[in-house]
């Protein structure tokens, strides 16, 4: 393995091709705006400068590694040049951090404090440009804040390939603009540009002015939107910044979703559906156990279900492809021998939704079909007419197609009319209320963590299944 020296320390260059990659991988931070590991190298921000001993200062993102190369990342010429570049970037930047959603996680802000810190040298009035330019129903663009790193343009050209964004004009009149005949709504991955943007030039409309980011923290989760199983971060208020006196749900709301970088599954990206998990998980919840639509205590409903489970005759279970690995195992251990089980697609492609593409999106719109089918097979549901009990776990079953004479036990999380048709309805928790794992269509297992409290009257399916297997009248 070639060895080079950074700040006089020998480092292994490994598989890396550029000095910037080697430095970052070995704990020498080199600031950079335009470089991104997943995008082509353009070297336009000129901030990632390092000194190559004997050859002077140059940009690290396009500097090839070589045996014996000696690099300084903090020498005097490096600091001076870096600072000058940051001053250039700020020349026409509005510095309206006070009203910018990116403040607190803005690379420009961080670098300013770390590497510049000086007041502006310029007395000239700043150039103005468009603020609040609508790029789509989801994203607005602030050209004044844009530092023209071209990450967003490269993303739409190289990754999502929607080719919606480009640069117009040249020189300091250059601006990011969408193609004239389309908007970013045509790009199912568009929201990634919000994260990619090192400054607050690309903003999410749904998140705009919702919260200062330093009041928020992320919880690791897995997007249930399709079989890809992208790992995500669900952002919500920090515990220590809980609002008192307001509607308590504010403290638990998922305000935004960002990718949790994961080379084995989704790389650095997620699709827009994953961005909207807040809405998906924010649907009205079912919190009341029911017997034929009549509210009962949870224990009463469980007991009723137990009796049905123990009854004679043919029993069929429709297993949820949204159940976690743990829940699926609990079902198999406790109840599989009492049911003929089929795996059910809880969700199907919605109207206008991208069914499948070459990047991430999969046609199977459920997170755990892979694990469920490993346990219960992939045969299509075949429910004989003489079936006496159907256990419906999760969404997506059409009750009108179930055998007329069969009793129905329904385990569900959402407030839906069919809850009342079931003979027994038991409300169960959703993934944001518990730990668990999903297995992607490629067999990769990813974990999700809870960030919301389980509502009163709701039970975890994993706890429920052994209870259902127990004789009627046992403890619950």
């Amino acid at each position: 393995m070639p060895v080079m020296f950074i700040n006089d320390q020998p480092v292994d260059t490994g598989e890396h091709r550029t000095v910037l990659q080697v430095a970052l991988a070995n704990g020498f931070y080199v600031p950079h705006f335009c470089w991104h590991p997943e995008l082509s190298i353009v070297g336009n921000c000129r901030v990632c400068v390092v000194e190559q001993e004997g050859r002077g200062v140059g940009i690290a993102c396009n500097m090839p590694v070589a045996e014996g190369l000696r690099i300084q990342t903090e020498s005097e010429p490096v600091r001076a040049q870096r600072k000058a570049m940051l001053q250039f970037i700020l020349l026409n930047h509005p510095v309206d951090c006070g009203i910018c959603d990116k403040a607190g996680e803005c690379t420009l802000q961080d670098y300013h404090y770390a590497y510049n810190g000086a007041p502006a040298l310029s007395h000239e009035p700043k150039l103005h440009s468009t603020k609040f330019f609508p790029l789509s129903e989801r994203i607005i663009l602030d050209n004044e804040r844009c530092i023209l790193c071209s990450r967003c343009v490269r993303f739409t050209r190289e990754i999502s390939k929607s080719n919606v964004l480009g640069m117009e004009q040249r020189g300091d009149g250059m601006r990011v603009r969408p193609v004239e005949d389309r908007t970013l709504d045509d790009d199912p991955y568009s929201d990634n540009v919000i994260d990619l943007c090192p400054v607050g030039a690309l903003l999410s409309r749904s998140f705009q002015y919702q919260a200062r980011v330093w009041y928020l923290e992320p919880t690791a989760s897995v997007c249930p939107g399709c079989a890809r199983g992208c790992t995500v971060q669900l952002w919500h208020r920090r515990h220590e910044w809980r609002l008192k006196g307001l509607d308590g749900s504010h403290n638990e709301r998922i305000l935004r979703v960002t990718p949790l970088e994961n080379p084995r599954v989704n790389g650095a990206w997620i699709c827009n559906k994953g961005r909207d998990l807040g809405a998906l998980f924010g649907r009205p919840r079912a919190g009341q156990a029911l017997l034929k639509g009549r509210p009962v205590l949870l224990a009463e409903a469980i007991d009723a279900a137990r009796r049905l489970v123990r009854g004679a005759g043919r029993r069929v279970a429709l297993v949820s492809s949204w159940g976690s690995n743990e829940e699926l195992r609990a079902f198999r251990n406790a109840l599989a021998d009492r049911f003929t089980s089929f795996v059910k697609a809880d969700h199907r492609p919605g109207e206008g939704e991208v069914v499948e593409d070459d990047l991430l999106i999969r046609a199977d719109k459920n997170p755990n079909t892979h694990a469920a089918q490993a346990l219960f097979g992939n045969a299509p549901a075949d429910i004989p007419d003489d079936t006496e009990l159907v256990l419906v776990w999760g969404e997506g079953a059409d009750f009108s197609t179930l055998p007329r004479g069969a009793k129905i036990v329904h385990l569900g999380a959402w407030l839906q009319p069919e809850n009342g048709y079931a003979d027994v309805f038991i409300p169960i928790s959703i993934q944001t209320e518990r730990h668990g794992h999903y297995t992607s269509f490629e067999g990769v297992v990813s974990a999700f963590e809870p960030c919301q409290r389980r509502p009163e009257g709701v039970i975890d399916a994993e706890t429920l299944f052994p209870l259902l297997a127990a004789p009627p009248g046992s403890d619950t």
Binding site: I41, V42, G43, N44, C45, R46, V47, V49, G56, V57, I59, N62, P64, Q81, A84, M85, F88, I89, L91, N92, L121, S122, H123, E124, L127, I147, L148, M167, Q169, R170, G171, D172, G173, M174
Partner: protein, 437 residues
């Protein structure tokens, strides 16, 4: 006469640019000789031996550039003649295109043969109309006689030429930027590495040479490297086309043997200054003389000029360069602040906007100098200009940013008093005068 001739070695008549006239003065003999008797590498070796340096600005040895390409590596290779000629003060390639286009075409065939090029290009600036018509007619003449296309002169060598017209962007003269233009994208200069001889047009090894550089090839192959070396100086062989403009009595394009006395050139060959004014300064090689090489001042003062000779090493040691051969002569009484204002406006207008220091710095300097010229300068403006210029130099992707920096630095260093006067009094020491009246 400023020395011996290579490109202007004939009398210009109404049809001296035709193929027949070119043949009559020995044209296309070198091509026939090379195709019959020389291996591609021998052609390159001849250019290496000639010591020919690039005429586009950086004076990089042409042979050495060509050696960056292996003609037999099995990849496609490309050759591009850079006829973008946008450097203010420069109009010498135009002379070649208008009056000696076949010298360029024969040379490009030789270079294509040497480099294993099947498709060659001329990138000509979009505004050039007559030069383009002349070139285009010459290309059709050459195609008509089987000098381009398949199996040229029965040698088995094939080569096509595409004349690509730009559309109005100075930066396209930068060699890597014109690749983008030809590829149909924004003409952004590219970071090195990779060098263009490794990855250039369509990601394939590519040589870009200036029109004048290339046009000289045929002469060298016809007369031999030794004959070429016998012209000019030891380290600057050959001649240069110098385009002279500004406050000079006989502006125009001159072929000058390298090493020729500058004073003689200005005062005798070019007829001396307009209005018999004394010389104030000379911009020797286009307003971006230094584009690619030095960090030196690029304006020469009168005393410096008088004792100089015209060659690469002398000018380099004098702190400037022959650059693109675009010489601008400035008479006493000219306002250097206003001249710099025009230069900075130019760089600001032409910055491609890709990289931070040039995009922001050119505009910054332009706004500062506009303010000075408007009579609202502040004492610290000179330091600000110095600072911006300093950090435009060596920090950018291409030479445009550096050039803007040199322009400011050189003017401020040499004529600081004029800037201070302008700022202090709110008006020009020379009445804002640009013309020689």
């Amino acid at each position: 006469m400023p020395g011996r001739k290579v490109l202007m070695d004939f009398e210009v008549t109404p049809d001296s640019h035709s193929l027949a006239a070119y043949r009559a003065r020995g044209g296309y003999q070198a091509l026939e000789k090379a195709l019959r008797t020389m291996q591609p590498r021998e052609v390159t070796q001849e250019i290496v031996d000639s010591g020919l340096q690039g005429r586009g600005g950086a004076a990089f040895p042409a042979g050495r550039k060509w050696q960056g390409i292996d003609p037999d590596d099995g990849q496609p290779h490309y050759l591009i003649a850079n006829a973008d000629e946008g450097e203010p003060g420069t109009f010498k390639d135009r002379w070649v295109l208008e009056y000696n286009p076949h010298a360029l075409l024969e040379s490009m065939l030789l270079a294509s043969y040497a480099l294993g090029v099947r498709h060659a290009f001329v990138y000509i600036r979009g505004e050039y109309d007559i030069p383009w018509r002349r070139l285009d007619a010459a290309v059709e003449e050459a195609y008509g006689e089987g000098l381009f296309g398949e199996d040229i002169l029965g040698s088995g060598f094939s080569c096509d030429l595409f004349v690509f017209r730009g559309a109005g962007a100075y930066v396209c003269g930068e060699a890597s930027s014109l690749l983008g233009s030809i590829e149909g994208s924004r003409a952004y200069p590219r970071n090195r590495p990779p060098r263009m001889t490794v990855r250039g047009l369509y990601q394939a090894p590519t040589v870009v040479n200036n029109v004048e550089t290339l046009a000289t090839i045929a002469w060298i192959l016809r007369n031999g490297a030794a004959a070429f070396r016998a012209i000019g100086t030891e380290r600057s062989p050959g001649t240069r086309l110098i385009s002279v403009s500004g406050h000079i009595r006989n502006p125009g394009v001159y072929e000058v043997e390298l090493g020729y006395s500058w004073a003689k050139f200005l005062h005798e060959d070019c007829g001396g200054l307009l209005c018999n004014k004394p010389l104030k300064a000379v911009i020797p090689g286009g307003i971006s003389s230094q584009v690619l090489t030095g960090k030196d001042a690029k304006v020469l003062t009168a005393e410096e000029v008088e004792c100089l000779t015209l060659d690469h090493e002398k000018l380099r040691s004098a702190g400037s360069s022959l650059g693109s051969g675009g010489m601008i002569v400035i008479a006493e009484g000219t306002c250097m602040v206003r001249l710099l204002q025009i230069m900075l406006r130019f760089y600001h207008h032409e910055s491609c906007g890709q990289c931070t220091p040039c995009r922001e710095g050119t505009g910054w300097m332009h706004r500062v100098i506009d303010r000075i010229v408007a009579g609202e300068g502040r004492p610290e403006d000179i330091d600000t200009l110095h600072h911006v210029a300093r950090y435009n130099d060596g920090t950018t992707i291409c030479g445009l940013g550096d050039a803007a920096g040199y322009a400011a630095t050189a003017m401020l260093d040499n004529f600081r008093d004029e800037f201070e006067y302008f700022i202090e009094h709110g008006r020009s020491k020379f009445g804002g005068n640009l013309e020689c009246r």
